[in-house]
Amino acid sequence: MHGLLNRAIQRFLCDTHGGECWTHVARVAGVDPGGFEAMLTYEDELTEAVLEAAVARLDLPREMILEDLGTYLVSHPDLEALRRLLRFGGETFVDFLFSLDDLPERARLAVPDLELPELELAEDTEGGVAIRCRGGWPGVEYVLQGMLRALADDYGALAVLDVIERGPGQATVSISLLDTAFHKGRSFSLVADR
């Protein structure tokens, strides 16, 4: 898996659960002591070993760790660059959701060898949205759920999210929008502060 994703997991474990936790997980999983390099690619098995070691160490369900990872990616101040890139998707949370189909292509514009799961959007009759997530590694839908929850908050929208269907190689995340302007949300300007 791409180093960006592995490095994201590493930073999440470090920042959220402490450096000691990461050192332990890295040792058990057999990660190089220097950690992951964001711009290199690693075997999928290594990522799997890291996640397994994290589940064992933290004694938390894998789904919960992955969802926290998603939230972390959007909301941690050190990863502001990623939040900003996501916010280019649209001016409102709904616009953003409608841009999700393009997300893998957008990611590839920035990093040509970055493979993200395919996302397919469907609206239901009650104004809710279902996102079908295909490909990617097992449990990636929980990362997506965490990211979307944090992004809803970022845009100031109130939404209820759930992973509703899980099958081999695919899953669906449902989003019910309760209020698109629940609070002010965080600001986004097209050009980053210099």
């Binding site: 220097g34 660059a81 890139l85 280019f88 957008r106 097209l190 050009v191």
Partner: protein, 340 residues
């Protein structure tokens, strides 16, 4: 269809629709006055533009300046370079089209000034038409910055690893001095540059006795102390290497006069002969030194230089140790060597 109607062969658009389609347009009447302006353009100008002569709002730079409507219409269909009166240093792109009533429509784009313009006028997603690629360009610019920052961090880390690996590969682990490899590389470099230098072979005397009497740990401590003494005599351009158990080589750059070399070498021997305290003991050793000299007119042969220094060292040892010999070539004086 709201806001648009067909009339003959022309399409009529109302102002709001035109503004959404081309948020940076100027619609001019036959006198060259602004009839209406796109919302983003007005936002940038900071004021309402309607009624103003176009030349007060934009300045055409290429392919030609134009201040009246006739001049402007003459440029219709050609790629324009222009600036806004509020931002004369910000180059923009544009296109002019003639209108049936004798007026003109100018559409303006940020072109390559996009990033600066967005930051300067605090533009938002809503200031661009959704069909405009400007936002994708901003996204790409930002993504590229993030990725290249990550890549340069990677390059830095790899370079750090390379530098320390090279340093390790060229260092004697016991004393921290250069090793044979680095000595060879330095010799090759100096010979390549044609820089004059003295090559000093230093061989410790009575060191084997220290090792045999007090053991290797004490011997190692003595070697480290000698390394410290030698390093203290070096300038930054010089080099000290440990090339064998108790053999050292010093390269003194730009020093070729035998009397200067001899003075430096004798000082070194005196310092090495000072008792070296190791734990409760005091160790006494000495050193013999042989020197060869490379001057610009010599052929750059590292093997010969080492051989000559060896030969001089051998003479020092043979003359009773604790001595310095500077090798001199036969083509000069009668003697091969000049004992100092």
């Amino acid at each position: 269809m709201t806001g648009a109607a067909r009339q003959g062969g022309a399409i009529m658009l109302d102002g709001a629709v035109l503004g959404r389609l081309l948020p940076m347009h100027l619609c001019l009447d036959a006198e060259g006055r602004v009839r209406q302006a796109g919302p983003t353009l007005e936002r940038i100008a900071g004021t309402e533009l309607a009624g103003r002569p176009f030349a007060e709002v934009v300045s055409l730079r290429r392919p030609a300046a134009a201040t009246d409507i006739a001049g402007l219409l003459a440029l219709a269909g050609r790629p324009l370079k222009l600036t806004l009166a509020v931002a004369p240093a910000l180059p923009l792109k544009g296109l002019v089209a003639g209108l049936p009533d004798g007026g003109a429509l100018i559409d303006i784009s940020m072109g390559i000034s996009l990033i600066e313009a967005v930051s300067r006028f605090d533009l938002t997603l809503g200031d661009f038409s959704p069909s405009d690629l400007a936002v994708e360009l901003l996204y790409l610019h930002e993504a590229k910055s993030v990725v290249s920052a990550e890549l340069s961090r990677l390059a830095e880390r790899l370079n750090g690893a390379r530098v320390s690996a090279e340093k390790e590969a060229a260092t004697d682990t016991l004393t921290g001095l250069a090793n044979r490899r680095r000595l060879d590389a330095t010799l090759a470099r100096l010979l390549g540059q044609g820089r004059a230098f003295a090559l000093m072979q230093i061989d410790l005397d009575y060191f084997k006795l220290v090792n045999d009497t007090h053991g290797h740990d004490v011997g190692d401590a003595v070697l480290r102390e000698v390394a410290h003494l030698l390093r203290a005599q070096c300038r930054t351009q010089d080099l000290v290497a440990r090339v064998g158990g108790d053999e050292f080589v010093m390269i003194l750059v730009d020093i070729v006069e035998p009397f200067r070399i001899a003075r430096i070498a004798e000082r070194l021997i005196r310092q090495i002969e000072e008792p070296i305290p190791v734990g409760m003991r005091e160790c006494r050793i000495s050193a013999s030194i042989g020197v060869s000299v490379f001057s610009r007119q010599d052929s750059p042969d590292p093997k010969r230089l080492m051989r000559e220094a060896d030969c001089a060292l051998y003479q020092s040892k043979g003359a009773g140790r604790a001595r310095v010999t500077v090798f001199t070539r036969p083509e000069g004086a009668a003697d091969n060597t000049d004992a100092a």
